[in-house]
Each structure stands twice: as structure tokens, then as C-alpha cells.
Symmetry: C2
């Protein structure tokens, strides 16, 4: 069932403000969640609303965070999120990085005492609005696998996203977990009652698990074996340990322990392309090479990161956001609990 975007956004803001989230912070959180859904990152969209509600009600989120910069230089900042909502903390950090990069050429901003912030691609994309390059990385909010060769879960899906401006073409936008799949994607399959392909999850004896509801009994697999495991560690060290945020055994599953602060860490690097080439020249070159990549196969066959997400977003902005029956049921339950005026009864 589809709903107009502004209606869904109002709904989510209403839910969070009933829980005493400040209106501005509720608005930022709703916007970031919706952006994820619009781009097809449904595992980090509205599906997270019930989970955030649980965390807020359990006292696991600080609703009056004092977000401040503990360290700051013209090219960097360490943003202390004071356990506020992750979307709010990370938006603050991304905006700081954009401002600093605009002034200084480039900037790296890290977060500490943050929370799950949703789809990484949303934050690197914030740089695109200013013709800047954005690179985002995070310590994921639950451990899903051991380091390569090990047995104990110490690493999450640690994602990276990279956004690079273009001219007439869709900007390049990579947004990936460094595991073969993510818990968000598995959650979507579980809600849809579908099986996982082999190669996504193995049990501790190395046998495949294909039932998405049993994913927690096994380990996710990193992309490219030891290579992806190493990249995953690097992202965790740079987004977590460098900021004094949780890493390894300290990472709690923020869904399983909703009343505890997660001390999530993220980082974003923002850079001006005109450090290296005039902006128009660079954007023309990006157009040229993105077209060449697209033409390296039959029409429609080549996967260029960001193209699918941007065209899906345009389509959903026109036609409304599609919400799965299971999620819609959960949102309607929230509407009843909080006695909202709009119970999302009438989609199209």
C-alpha cells in the first residue's frame, strides 16, 4: 500500500514527539528514515520506527542530548552525540564536515556516544548537495561475525558509502555493508516470509543457514573472505576506536538491549573536488566516465552504484511510498497506542 511522503513524514514525527522527542529532532529522524526507504534501503527506513520506539521507551536514548564538539580543528571534529538519536547526531556531524570542507578543502568528522543512524548513503549524499565528495563509515549496531579465521562474534556489518558528484549524470553513490548481506535486508526477507540464498549466513560449523528467522544462530559472511573481513575491521577501527566509540566486544545489539547506551561511532570525510580539478571540468569528466561504464554492456545491464536508488526515489516521490503489510500493521498499532489522528488506514 502506498502513502504520500508528507503524510508518512508527519506520521513518524507525530510518533516520536508523543514520546517526548523534540520536534526538530523528530523531523530530522523522520526525514533520514524516509530517505532510506525512498532509495530502496528499506532495512534502514520505516522498519526501524517500532525498534526506535522500544529503545526510547526503555530509556536507551537521551531525548535531550547536549551534542557538542569535544575536539575541533579546521579539518576535523569529534562530535559527542550524548546518546541522542543517531540520525540527529550523524546529521550534525555531516553538516559540520560539509562546512569545514567548504572552508578548508576537506574535513573528517567522527562521532562518539552516537546511535544507529540508518542508511550510510544518506549522509555521504548530503555532501552532493554542495558539490562535495562524501565518504561515510560506521561501526554497525550489532556484532554478526568473527574476524576471519575466528569463532567469536566481534564485528558488525560495518558499512561504507561513497558519494561523488557528477554533472548531468546521476552522481556516483556506493552504499554497501562489508558483509555479503545486512541484518536490515534479512529482516525484510523475514517479514516477507522468504528464504536467504546460501552464502549469506553460516552456522558455527560452516553449514549454510537459509531461514532468515534463524540468522542470529549463525555468522554473516564478509565480502571477499579475508579481504572484506580486513576492510570491515579497518572501518570499525576508523569509525569506532579512533573516536573512543564502542568496538568489538563492547558493541551491544541495540535491539536486544534497548535500555543501554550503545556508544555507536561513525565518521564522515568530505572533500572539495576542486582541490584537484576545476569543478565543472571534474563534473564533465564524471559524466563522460559514468556513461562509458554504462555502455560497457547491453542497455540496462551495467550496475552503476546510485542509479537504481535515485530512479527509485524519483518514482516513489511521484507515486508515494510503498509500505509492506507487516510494517503497516506495526505502524497502525503505534497509531492506536498513541491515539494519533491519522491511523494510516487508507493507503492506495
Amino acid at each position: 500500500m502506498r502513502f504520500p511522503l508528507d503524510r508518512i513524514e508527519r506520521f513518524v514525527v507525530e510518533v516520536f514527539t508523543r514520546l517526548d522527542v523534540l520536534p526538530e529532532q523528530a523531523a530530522i529522524t523522520a526525514r533520514r528514515l524516509l530517505e532510506a526507504d525512498l532509495r530502496g534501503r528499506t532495512g534502514h527506513g520505516l522498519i526501524r520506527v517500532p525498534q526506535y520506539v522500544t529503545r526510547i521507551e526503555a530509556g536507551g536514548i537521551n531525548l535531550r542530548p547536549r551534542i557538542e564538539r569535544l575536539r575541533e580543528t579546521p579539518v576535523s571534529a569529534l562530535v559527542d552525540g550524548d546518546n541522542g538519536l543517531g540520525q540527529v547526531v550523524m546529521t550534525n556531524a555531516a553538516e559540520a564536515a560539509v562546512d569545514k570542507a567548504t572552508a578548508s578543502g576537506m574535513a573528517w568528522v567522527g562521532t562518539v556516544h552516537s546511535n544507529h543512524a540508518g542508511a550510510g548513503g544518506i549522509y555521504s549524499a548530503l555532501a552532493l548537495d554542495h558539490d562535495l565528495i562524501g565518504i561515510y563509515m560506521a561501526v554497525a549496531s550489532a556484532n554478526v561475525m568473527p574476524p576471519w579465521g575466528g569463532r567469536d562474534r566481534m564485528l558488525g556489518t560495518n558499512p561504507i558509502s561513497i558519494a561523488i558528484p557528477a554533472g548531468e549524470e546521476t552522481p556516483f553513490q556506493l552504499d554497501i555493508a562489508t558483509t555479503v548481506t545486512s541484518h536490515g535486508t534479512i529482516k525484510v526477507l523475514a517479514q516477507a516470509g522468504e528464504e536467504m540464498p546460501e552464502g549469506w549466513v553460516i552456522d558455527p560449523d560452516g553449514n549454510p543457514i537459509t531461514d532468515p528467522t534463524r540468522a542470529n544462530d549463525g555468522f554473516l559472511m564478509p565480502i571477499g573472505g579475508y579481504k572484506g573481513s580486513g576492510l570491515n575491521m579497518a572501518l570499525g577501527l576508523l569509525a569506532g576506536v579512533l573516536n573512543g566509540a564502542a568496538f568489538g566486544a563492547e558493541v551491544i545489539d541495540h535491539r536486544a538491549v534497548p535500555d543501554q547506551a550503545a556508544n555507536t561511532g561513525q565518521a564522515i570525510l568530505v572533500m572539495r573536488p576542486d582541490l584537484f580539478r576545476d569543478l565543472d571540468d571534474f563534473k564533465s569528466a564524471m559524466d563522460h566516465y559514468l556513461r562509458a561504464l554504462r555502455e560497457a554492456g547491453p542497455p540496462g545491464s551495467v550496475h552503476i552504484p546510485g542509479e537504481g536508488a535515485v530512479s527509485l526515489e524519483a518514482e516513489q516521490r511521484r507515486q508515494g511510498l510503498a509500505i509492506s503489510p507487516t510494517l503497516l500493521g506495526q505502524l497502525r498499532d503505534l497509531a492506536v497506542r498513541f491515539e494519533l489522528d491519522d491511523g494510516l488506514e487508507d493507503g492506495s
Copy 2:
């Protein structure tokens, strides 16, 4: 057969200087090639000497390059390598990045008109000597696969390496191609007369190729399917297109076309950890988490990037560098051709 390091280094310097390479540039190139071998990156070590000789003799390398900074800010530089030897250009760029990061907190230095520079991990490791974080990326020197879903070879093995200081522990050092394997590794297998595992190379119809001498008939596979393909593109855009270096169809196979300038692009980001945490505090934390990762499995089972390379380097510095019979034969041929005093006849 094993040889003392200083003897091999002298040998390589001698070969290059006979070809009219300036002594200082020959020394830098020899050192970088040896560092690759010492760390077990044999695909980027001495095995490249005969190939560089061919390129130099064919006129594909500028032996009197004027390496200069086309653009420069306190946090960045665009280094024009003027078609000099890649190790020389990239060492220049890495040193510029280290100097700028030391002064400004962080710096991104890109190269244009560079050449194949060997193992990426060598350059990110240069940052470690100054307690800095180093991240290196490059457009590889030959196209080996299409973008995901396509048919035309447009992408190389585009590598990334990430070096992060530690205290008592071995610094974290990731050094990977974003393909399942690399041409260097395949070349080593070919010289050893061994087969490739399935999953490294497929022919255009999707069937596995396992004969390493037939690798050029097929495509290398990216790590993690579309994810690794996207990461590979991102590295190519940031290390190549951003610098005005070759990308896509412009990338020549520097071995197949030894007389043409390659316009290779690389980039290195260097950053001070104390932007975010006091250095000693950060290094202690790195020690703590690296140990915790190592203890996530039975002793010796967990793969932590850099540990194997550093221990192999220590061993080879003690025992001498092992050189395969095929490569030794090629080096001895060069000794005869250039009438060198040391013909590497007597290893141990």
C-alpha cells in the same frame, strides 16, 4: 634460493642505473620493490624488474621526470609525475601527504602521469613511521574486468590499503585488491606452474578458467559481486578521474604497450590520530582491540591484516630474500646483458 637484502638491492640499483635511471630514483625504486617482496607481496616485487626494464628500454618511462605539484593547499596536492617511475612519483606524493598531515592534521595527495608503483601497502605504511594513519588507492595498470553486469573490460584490480598505528602490537595494515585476486598473484602461480582456484577468473560466457597462463582470456571477479565492483569503481574515480589520470578505456596494459605513457593515477590520505584522541591513548586502545580480535579464535587462527606481512618481513630480513628459480633466471639474464659484477650465481 636466498640472498642478503643489501646485495639484492645493489643488484636492482645497478640494473636500473645501467639503463640511465638516476641513482637516487633507482634506489627508491629498488627499495619499494624489495619492501613488497619482504612482505610477501611477491606480485609487486622483484618479479616486476624485467618488466620495468622492458618499459624503460621501449621509451615508456621518462628517466628525467620533472615531478611537480600542479595544485597545492595545506591539506592537498596534485603531484604530476611527468611519466617518471611509479615508485618515485608515489614516494614523492606519500612524503608530501605525511608533511602536510603533520602540519595540518590531514592531507590528500593525488598523482597524475604516474606509473605502476607496486604494492599499495608500502605507501600507506610510510605514514606509520610518523604515527599517522595512511589510506592509499590506485587505478591498476591494466583492465581486467567489466563493471558489474557489463561485458567490456573497463576496470583494473584497483587496490586499497589502510595502515593504522598501534603501540606494542603490529600496526593494522590492510593491503588488498578489490578483485578476488590480482595479476601479480596470477603471475606468481604461472611461474610456479600451479593452477588457479575456481572463482578467480571467468571467461566471457561465465565459465571458470583455472590455467593462470590463460587468465587474460577471461575476467577477474570483484570481491562481493556488485559491492566490490562498486568499490573498485569508487577507487578508480577517486584515484584516477579526480586527478585527471587514465580511467576506463584509457587505461593501457603497461606490460602489453611498453612504449606508451600510462598516465596512472594514485591517491593517498594521511591523517593524525590525535585529531580525535591523544596519541598514546589511541595506540593503547589499538593494542587492546587488536589483541581482542586475535583472541576471538584459537591461537594462530585469526587473520589480522599486517601481522603475517610484518612477521615475514622480519624473517626475510634475518634469513635473506627467497627468489624463485624462474625469476632468478630472469635476473641472471639481466646480469649477463648488462655485464654486472654480481651475477647472483651464488645464493644460499
